[in-house]
């Protein structure tokens, strides 16, 4: 007897859509996913829409408007299992740079009629608004990890997405440490694993796309980063990217904000 397929919904909040596209990028696995799961709501892929409730909701994007703050509550009500995907949904994204500034000034520069713009003063993670069952990190998320999360959901097991540093991924891959070996500043020691250490594999320092690791000691890392030539302004900026509003990154950038 064929069991009913679980219903999947994909939701977009303030974001670039890149993480949703990771689902389409699954390519080889996509048809298999579609065979195992009923894709009930996924506007990036299809206009067809099946009503809730949903067994699994993937939520992309951050909350930046009062409307979205309300909408995410409805998504939560409709979802048995809610997974946030990507830096916007898990920390507020690059648009959380507004949290360090006056968003009205930004709007005045960008829009001809800023008075048409109704927006919140901050960009915040989904988990700041509703209970989240699992957070998948990354800017963008890794398709490999997304397939792992969906596979784990279907099997009723815990996904293998370790929250230790990127350094562990580098060492398992056999990468040379670019900071010690080349003197290249790297956020790997304070950054959540998951990307497979892409940048250090190409001799670049880690940019922190996956946000803070489980126990990030950002003030301690700033000491060697400073010795390698990063001044106060550079230290402020290095943490103000896709995960600027993640706690450990925000605090360390503020420490260097004179």
């Amino acid at each position: 007897m064929e069991r009913a397929r679980p219903k999947l919904a994909v939701w977009k909040f303030a974001s670039c859509d890149g993480c949703q596209l990771s689902l389409l990028d699954c390519e080889d696995e996509l048809l298999e996913i579609a065979g195992k799961i009923e894709i009930a709501q996924f506007l990036e892929a299809t206009r067809a829409s099946v009503e809730g409730p949903y067994d699994l909701s993937l939520v992309e994007g951050s909350v930046t408007t009062a409307h979205d703050a309300e909408r995410i509550r409805e998504v939560r009500r409709q979802s048995r299992f809610l997974v946030t995907i990507g830096a916007c949904a898990t920390s507020g994204g690059i648009q959380a740079l507004r949290n360090f500034a006056d968003v009205r000034e930004y709007a005045a520069i960008v829009y001809a009629r800023p008075d048409y713009i109704q927006t919140l003063a901050t960009s915040t993670a989904i988990a700041d608004h509703v209970k989240v069952d699992f957070e998948l990190r990354g800017c963008p998320i890794s398709t490999r990890q997304l397939v792992e999360v969906i596979s784990a959901f279907l099997a009723g097991r815990k996904p293998q997405t370790p929250s230790h540093s990127v350094c562990v991924e580098c060492k398992i891959a056999g990468n040379l440490c670019v900071m010690v070996g080349h003197g290249t500043p790297c956020l790997g020691p304070v950054t959540h694993a998951g990307c497979g250490a892409i940048c250090p594999s190409y001799n670049r320092g880690c940019y922190g796309c996956y946000g803070p690791m489980e126990t990030p000691n950002t003030p301690a890392l700033s000491v060697p980063l400073g010795s390698l030539g990063m001044d106060n302004d550079a230290l402020k900026r290095v943490y103000r990217t896709f995960n600027a509003n993640a706690d450990a990154f925000r605090k360390e950038s503020e420490r260097h904000d004179q």
Partner: protein, 381 residues
Amino acid sequence: MADQIDGAMATLTVEGLEKLLQAIQARGYRAVGPTLENQAIVYDDVESINDLPRGWTDEQDGGRYRLLRRGDDALFGYSVGPQSWKKYLHAPKLRLWTAERHGDDISVAPEPPTGDRLAFIGVRACEMRAIEIQDRVLLGDLYADPHYQALRARALIVAVNCGQAGGVCFCASMQAGPRVTEGFDLALTELLDGGEHVFLVEAGSDEGRALLALTPHRAASDDEIRAAAAVIERTASSMGREMRSDDLNELLTNNLEHPRWDEVATRCLTCANCTLVCPTCFCTSVEDVSDLAGERAERWRRWDSCFTMDFSYIHGGSVRASAKSRYRQWMTHKLATWIDQFGSSGCVGCGRCITWCPVGIDITEEVRAIRGCDASAEEPR
């Protein structure tokens, strides 16, 4: 030192070393050794001695590693690099078994151990000791790791006595070097100062003697034997670091609440680099993965570290949640409780944990700080 080197020593020229490598390969070994890659000396396949980092050396300090040109053509003129031989013997990632569903049945196929015959070229004394320590851990109890066992039993060890000490080396303090004393098939000492570039060779096993017999060599002269002893003596007396090691078990276990643990925790990144570069750290995690269809599952083992939260996770949370407790766990295990558990220190004085720590935490300095104000010694007993 000189009296330890007996008369059964041979001398190889540089060409002779190439012939030895060819003999090793001809006997079916896959030779791996130091090579130059991405501005570091790392272990990889070596086809010929031309793959060795000829004329290079390194400069190492806490959180810093740089290669430099030497003024000669030394083939082993550097200290240990970022990797150790555990990369081969105790692989970073290993599939343990694969399970497949066939209708209502499930079949489980264990991963067979690899049949590789590895020849490790250029194993230093500290690394030889590290391999012996991992032997004790992975083979020495009721359960022997079959993957490690298969590789280890077939491995050929061509050791090298160190011709110079690196900036973070302290093997002499740990009685782990710089002279290789046991466990090797062949041990080389590179001689650069006598006008001719040669290698003094000592055979430590029948396999080593057989290989030497297949290689053009001559009997070593007394001068060469003396010169080799002097090289090792010079290395022993120029260690970049030192650490008193005769009382570490008592010192550390009596100071588990020393304020230094809080201090080092402010600097420690808990990134796990020290454990992953350590040639004796052996901890792994086991992860199960399943496919979307639920038809196939695999169990993988990968390197883990006592610095990760998952490492001590039990129902309800991690036992060692603070950086302080994790650093203390690592250092007290390595230097103290390892002795209770396995009968020796877990540290061989290679210095990798110092060099490859991004913030340069120095285990010898941490021990000195605890020794400097030994909290237990100050209290009346």
